[in-house]
C-alpha cells in the first residue's frame, strides 16, 4: 500500500504497540497473582529471617491464631469494624439528609466534611492523639477551665482505647459515605415524591417509605468499602496509639508488620497476612454474589 517505503515485517511494525499494551498489563496482573501465591507459599514454610523452602502444614496458622496478640487484634477488628461501619454510615446518611434540605453554603459544608479524606492518616492520627491525650487535649482543657473532676482518658484506658480509633476513623471517612448517599438522594425520582406530597404524605413519611428504601444498594456499597478499609487499617492506629496501651488497640495489619519486620518471623507474618485476606474475602465474596444477583435481576426485569 505505502509505496516507496521498505516494507517492514508485520510483527516488527506492530512490536511497539504490542509492548505498550501487554507489558504494563502483564506486569500488573502477574505481580498480583505471583505475589499472592508467593505469600501463601511462605505461610506454609518454616521461614524465619529469610524465606526457606519446606513444608510445615498449618503450623504457622495455628501459632498465629493461638497468640494473644492475634486474638486481641481479631476481637478489636470485630468491634472496630462493626462500630466504625455502622456509625460512619449513619453519620454519613445524616449529613447527606441535612445537606439535601436545600441549605445555603452546601458546597462549603460538603468540602468541610470531606477534607479529612485528602489528608494522610499519619497526620490525622497524630492530631487526634494530641486531642485525646488526657494530659494535653480535651481533658486538660476542661480541667484548666475549672471542672477538675472531668475525665476523658480513653486513649490510655485499655478498655476504651479502641474507641478512640473508632472516633478518629469516623471523623476521617464519614464524608465519603455522605458523598455516596448524597448522590443517591439526588437520584430519587422527583415525580414519585411529588405524587406522595399531593397524597398528603409528610417529610418523615416520605423519607421512611420512599427515599430511604431506595438507598439500600448504596448502603451495601458503603458498608463493604468501609469494612475493607477497616480490615486493612494500619496508619491510623500506628499514629494514634501504636497498638497501645500495651497491645489493647492491636489490629491484624499491625500484627503482620510486627511478625514480619520486627520479630523476623516471615512464615508467621505471611500466615497472618493470608488470614487478613480470608477475613476480607468473607466480606467481599457475599458482596460479589449479591452484585451478581442484582445485575441478573436488572437484565431480566
Amino acid at each position: 500500500m505505502r509505496l516507496g517505503r521498505p516494507a517492514l515485517p508485520e510483527w516488527v511494525r506492530r512490536l511497539p504497540e504490542v509492548l505498550m499494551i501487554w507489558v504494563p498489563l502483564l506486569l500488573s496482573a502477574a505481580h498480583l497473582v505471583s505475589f499472592s501465591l508467593w505469600t501463601i507459599w511462605i505461610s506454609f514454610t518454616p521461614s524465619t529471617l529469610v524465606p526457606v523452602s519446606g513444608w510445615v502444614g498449618l503450623r504457622n496458622y495455628t501459632a498465629v491464631t493461638a497468640s494473644r496478640n492475634w486474638q486481641i487484634a481479631f476481637d478489636n477488628l470485630l468491634l472496630f469494624g462493626c462500630a466504625f461501619v455502622v456509625l460512619s454510615a449513619a453519620t454519613g446518611l445524616i449529613l447527606a439528609i441535612l445537606l439535601d434540605q436545600r441549605i445555603r453554603g452546601e458546597n462549603l459544608l460538603r468540602s468541610i466534611f470531606l477534607y479529612p479524606l485528602a489528608v494522610s492518616f499519619v497526620v490525622t492520627g497524630t492530631v487526634w492523639s494530641w486531642l485525646l491525650n488526657p494530659g494535653l487535649g480535651i481533658q486538660k482543657l476542661v480541667h484548666d477551665l475549672g471542672w477538675t473532676s472531668f475525665k476523658f482518658d480513653w486513649l490510655i484506658d485499655r478498655d476504651m482505647a479502641i474507641w478512640t480509633i473508632v472516633v478518629a476513623a469516623i471523623w476521617q471517612s464519614s464524608g465519603f459515605a455522605m458523598a455516596l448517599f448524597l448522590a443517591g438522594l439526588r437520584s430519587v425520582d422527583a415525580d414519585i415524591i411529588k405524587a406522595a406530597q399531593i397524597d398528603g404524605a409528610g417529610p418523615v413519611r416520605i423519607y421512611r417509605r420512599i427515599i430511604l428504601p431506595s438507598l439500600w444498594p448504596i448502603t451495601v456499597t458503603v458498608v463493604v468499602i468501609q469494612l475493607q478499609f477497616a480490615i486493612s487499617t494500619f496508619d491510623l492506629v500506628r499514629a494514634l496509639t501504636n497498638g497501645g496501651p500495651g497491645i489493647a488497640t492491636q489490629l491484624p495489619a499491625l500484627v503482620v508488620y510486627d511478625l514480619m519486620f520486627q520479630r523476623s518471623l516471615l512464615g508467621r507474618g505471611a500466615a497472618a497476612a493470608v488470614l487478613m485476606l480470608l477475613i476480607l474475602l468473607a466480606v467481599l465474596l457475599p458482596y460479589a454474589g449479591w452484585r451478581y444477583v442484582q445485575r441478573r435481576r436488572a437484565l431480566h426485569a
Binding site: L27, L32, P51, L98, A239, Y257, M276
Partner: protein, 285 residues
C-alpha cells in the same frame, strides 16, 4: 429538587450542620493554632488554646532546623523525597493506565477481559499480602531503600486504579470513531494521541489527583522499604513524634504536620470536584 416546605425546622437544620462542621474543622484549627504557639505556652496550658503571640519560628524549625533521627535538617529532605516519589509515580501510573484502559476498552485484543479482571483484583488485595514479595524483589534488583524502588511499586500498583478509571471513561467513546480511524490507516498510537488523549482531560485530572493524594499519603511501604534519609514525609513524621516523646515540641511538630499535609490539602482545595469524582468512581465499580 426538594421543596422548601420539606424541612421541619430550618433553624434546627442550620444549627445541626454548623455544629458538625465545627467539630470537623476543630482538629485542623487546633493544629494550625498550635503551630503558632511556643512550646512553653503549650506546656503551661493544653493543646487547645489561642496563641498569645505568633511564633512563626516553629515553621522555620520544622522546615529546616529540626532533628529527626540524628540529622537536623527538618522535614525538608523528607518532603523532597515524597515529591520525588509521588510526582514520577503519578505521571507513570496515569499514562500507563490511560494506555491500558484504552487498550482494554476500545482496541480490544485476545484475553483482554481476563487480564483486566485480574488487574482490578489489585483494588481489593490487602497491601500486607504484597509486603514480603516486594521486599525480596526490591532487594534482588538492588532498589531496596531507594526512592526509585518506591516509584516502581507505586507505578505498578497504581495501574489497578488508573486502568479502572480510564477504562470506565473510555467505554463511553463510540467504537465507530475508532473503527473509522483504523480504516483510514491510523494505528494504535496515532489513535491514542489524536483521538483518545484529546478527549481524556477530565479523567486524567481525576486520575492524577487520586494517585497524587494516595501516593503522598502512603505510609506502610515508606516505612517498610526505606530507612533514615530515604524515607517519605509520612514515615518521617512518625519518626519525629517518636523522637520528641521525651521532650515535647508540639509547636514545631504541629508546623511539620501542616507542611506535610499542605500538598494534598492544596490539591483538594483546587480540585475538590475531581477528587470527589474519583472517590465515587472508585466506589461504584
Amino acid at each position: 429538587m426538594r421543596e422548601r416546605s420539606f424541612a421541619p425546622s430550618r433553624i434546627f437544620i442550620y444549627l445541626a450542620v454548623a455544629l458538625i462542621a465545627a467539630a470537623w474543622l476543630a482538629p485542623l484549627a487546633v493544629v494550625v493554632l498550635n503551630s503558632l504557639r511556643t512550646n512553653e505556652e503549650i506546656a503551661q496550658g493544653s493543646m487547645i488554646g489561642w496563641p498569645q503571640h505568633l511564633a512563626w519560628s516553629n515553621y522555620a524549625a520544622a522546615w529546616s532546623g529540626f532533628c529527626v533521627a540524628e540529622t537536623c535538617a527538618g522535614i525538608r529532605p523528607y518532603m523532597l523525597n515524597s515529591a520525588l516519589v509521588t510526582i514520577p509515580a503519578t505521571i507513570f501510573s496515569t499514562l500507563l493506565g490511560a494506555i491500558a484502559g484504552y487498550a482494554v476498552s476500545l482496541w480490544r485484543f485476545r484475553g483482554d477481559n481476563w487480564i483486566y479482571g485480574i488487574v482490578t483484583l489489585g483494588l481489593f488485595l490487602p497491601q500486607q499480602m504484597r509486603l514480603l514479595p516486594w521486599t525480596i524483589v526490591l532487594r534482588d534488583i538492588g532498589l531496596i531503600n531507594t526512592l526509585a524502588g518506591l516509584v516502581l511499586i507505586h507505578t505498578i500498583q497504581g495501574l489497578s486504579f488508573t486502568t479502572l478509571f480510564c477504562r470506565n471513561y473510555y467505554v463511553a467513546i463510540p467504537h465507530e470513531l475508532i473503527r473509522a480511524a483504523r480504516i483510514d490507516g491510523a494505528g494504535f498510537f496515532r489513535i491514542f494521541w489524536r483521538i483518545i488523549l484529546p478527549l481524556s482531560g477530565p479523567i486524567l485530572i481525576v486520575t492524577v489527583i487520586w494517585q497524587f493524594t494516595h501516593i503522598w499519603n502512603e505510609f506502610l511501604y515508606g516505612v517498610t522499604f526505606t530507612t533514615g534519609q530515604q524515607q517519605p514525609v509520612t514515615a518521617a513524621l512518625i519518626a519525629l513524634s517518636a523522637a520528641v516523646a521525651d521532650i515535647p515540641q508540639h509547636g514545631v511538630q504541629s508546623a511539620a504536620v501542616i507542611i506535610a499535609a499542605l500538598p494534598t490539602l492544596l490539591i483538594y482545595l483546587l480540585g475538590g470536584k475531581y477528587f470527589v469524582r474519583g472517590l465515587t468512581a472508585g466506589a461504584v465499580k
